[in-house]
Homo-oligomer: 409 residues x 2
Amino acid sequence: MRKNLKLGLFGYGTVGQGLYDVLQKTPGIQAEIKRICIKDPEKKRTLPASYFTLHAADLLNDPEINVVVELIDDAEAAYDLVTAAMRKGKAVVTANKKMVAEHLEELYRLQQIYGVPLLYEGAVCASIPILRNLEEYYDNDLLTAVEGIFNGSTNYILTKVFDEGVSFDDALQQAQENGFAETDPSLDLEGWDPKYKLSIILAHAFGVFVPPDQIFHSGIEKLSDFDVKIAKEKGCKIKLVANCKKIGDTVYGWVMPQFVKPDSDLFRVNNEYNAVILEGAFSERQFMVGKGAGGYPTGSAVLSDISALTYDYRYEYKKLNQESRVESSNSGMLEVYVRYSKNNTIEFALFESIAEKFESAETGYVVGRIALAEIRKLCAGQPEINIVQVGPLEGLNSLDKLELAAEYT
Amino acid sequence: MRKNLKLGLFGYGTVGQGLYDVLQKTPGIQAEIKRICIKDPEKKRTLPASYFTLHAADLLNDPEINVVVELIDDAEAAYDLVTAAMRKGKAVVTANKKMVAEHLEELYRLQQIYGVPLLYEGAVCASIPILRNLEEYYDNDLLTAVEGIFNGSTNYILTKVFDEGVSFDDALQQAQENGFAETDPSLDLEGWDPKYKLSIILAHAFGVFVPPDQIFHSGIEKLSDFDVKIAKEKGCKIKLVANCKKIGDTVYGWVMPQFVKPDSDLFRVNNEYNAVILEGAFSERQFMVGKGAGGYPTGSAVLSDISALTYDYRYEYKKLNQESRVESSNSGMLEVYVRYSKNNTIEFALFESIAEKFESAETGYVVGRIALAEIRKLCAGQPEINIVQVGPLEGLNSLDKLELAAEYT
């Protein structure tokens, strides 16, 4: 039987209001918003004042509220609220990817200890039901890889740059004006946001907790006209791609811009759309696309979690038990393009091998094979270096190697 | 806690053997095949003879077997076996789309009466987890449309014809040689197979039982060089597309070849791949692609159902209760291209309006708006007519209207 849910909301921004709208138009769900905790009492609200409170305790101490829905920006405050609610035996739904990624192992333990579910589908690729699918459907499949476009803001910007010839700066401004990028866009541009999502996916796909700070990431904030030119001459776009691959009992995860050829599924995933590609031994290749940002897509994912709670659904984290020997590593070897300026000193010895080198008065690049851990050293303290993935991780052939730039060698 | 499952298999063909392989390599699943019922005792088998029996009763009457997995071709025999197993209180997994589609309302009732689950993810688009997603994830979304390529054989043939310039007959032969088409390919070519899948999807997406014989279908068996030429000149491919759309409380379902433009998601879904597009009010547009045929993709979907049974999963058919007022109808109006030969008599009065007409000594075509029910009348007893969908169902704009053939008018 479906449970009747009384919701306590933290935050009433875009997603909170999206959730309210979706809930109003979904009569089948036995859930109603009882109280909403907000920060700013001055802001004009679309609901009667009686809904709102400034005090978290009004929600946490209300025995009638059995589900806390956390939709605030501040990851630290969100962590305090979510764990407090769980300790009080309340089920929790959150869309806060940073908070979940940074505390996932502890949040997993709290779920066991307090016997309460914590669901966060809205935190990963909004409308794409990737977590539920990894939990429920790919349980028994021998999953080998998950990769995709996990960030709508950067994909919007890259689409403008590559499909419409807009400059990077103008594209960023358009993304901000259209609500696809934050006022401070660095979490998106630098690749932090897709990395948080990847960290969460790693737990559900391969049963391994890898905190974000152990995952290599590189963003698009240093993308230059030179890089765009190189990509376009090769008929490629650059997409910001999050990757994880399992080889034997080792899992490799990283976020990096990537040259994407027209025959790739990711080539035509544009604007604020996200995409996930799953590779399994038996189900083979799966490809899922959906909107990765916005109040309604995210609100819809949050409501889907709420709906699941009416059936006592919880993540089983089955892979954690099934594949306990799996470990993550940054020793994986990639072929990358590293573009630098005359201000940089490139430690070429970090490459296992170098396929191409180019230098002019202003700019140089090198294409070579290098381990994820070494790329980190290569970039340390050198802000003008830009990195784009060229070839696949060794041992896998899901990406074809690109024949880059004969005329630049 | 996971249940320990003892499986009784009916049939040991491609999917049965695929399932056996997948199960062997999936140590996490607490399920083992105890006995396999086969028809042909002479056929060479890859397992010891002790696994096999010719008698259904050896499985049905074995109290240790708690899950029956039905993987035989014959839909009538499958129906007898599946219902007998359910009446004996055994959970059942089947991949038989024809059997499920033709008996779905009864199979739904039997599940309630005998308190046993019946799962059939493998029956619909093999490796794409569409049923589980419709059940679990789109539960609360205001779903408006499901469409896609549900048949791998015809998609393989159409890919050869449109991407490689192979003749229809040669493409069919290649499909048969590669195991993507049956020896008798009419179920696929004429559109029966995707119609069975559509009938099943209608129940899970919109909560309405529509038997296959109430759904309009048209296949690709009459595709001519003239039709291919028309499509190519417009930069289109033809794909066999299954559709269902909900407008108000009415659901329209049909299977029809369709002109697909390069900017459609379906344009690049090729060979034996299947694709599903979901349109919801809040999650907006979702797109899922995966292999729709073959022993491993189907075996993987079947095993996913088996895995779900270890957790006592069952379809809830939530939409059946949520949206009881929904009814299906064939009054929906489509824009279609109807190509005919000089042997045909076209009843032009059946069209609501006609946009284009073309006639030569051998061939003619008309493009016009016509209700699904009237297309059926138009085609009755006229085997040489071929139909391709041009424009969207009235009231929806998920497909753009094609500007067809100025030079042919």
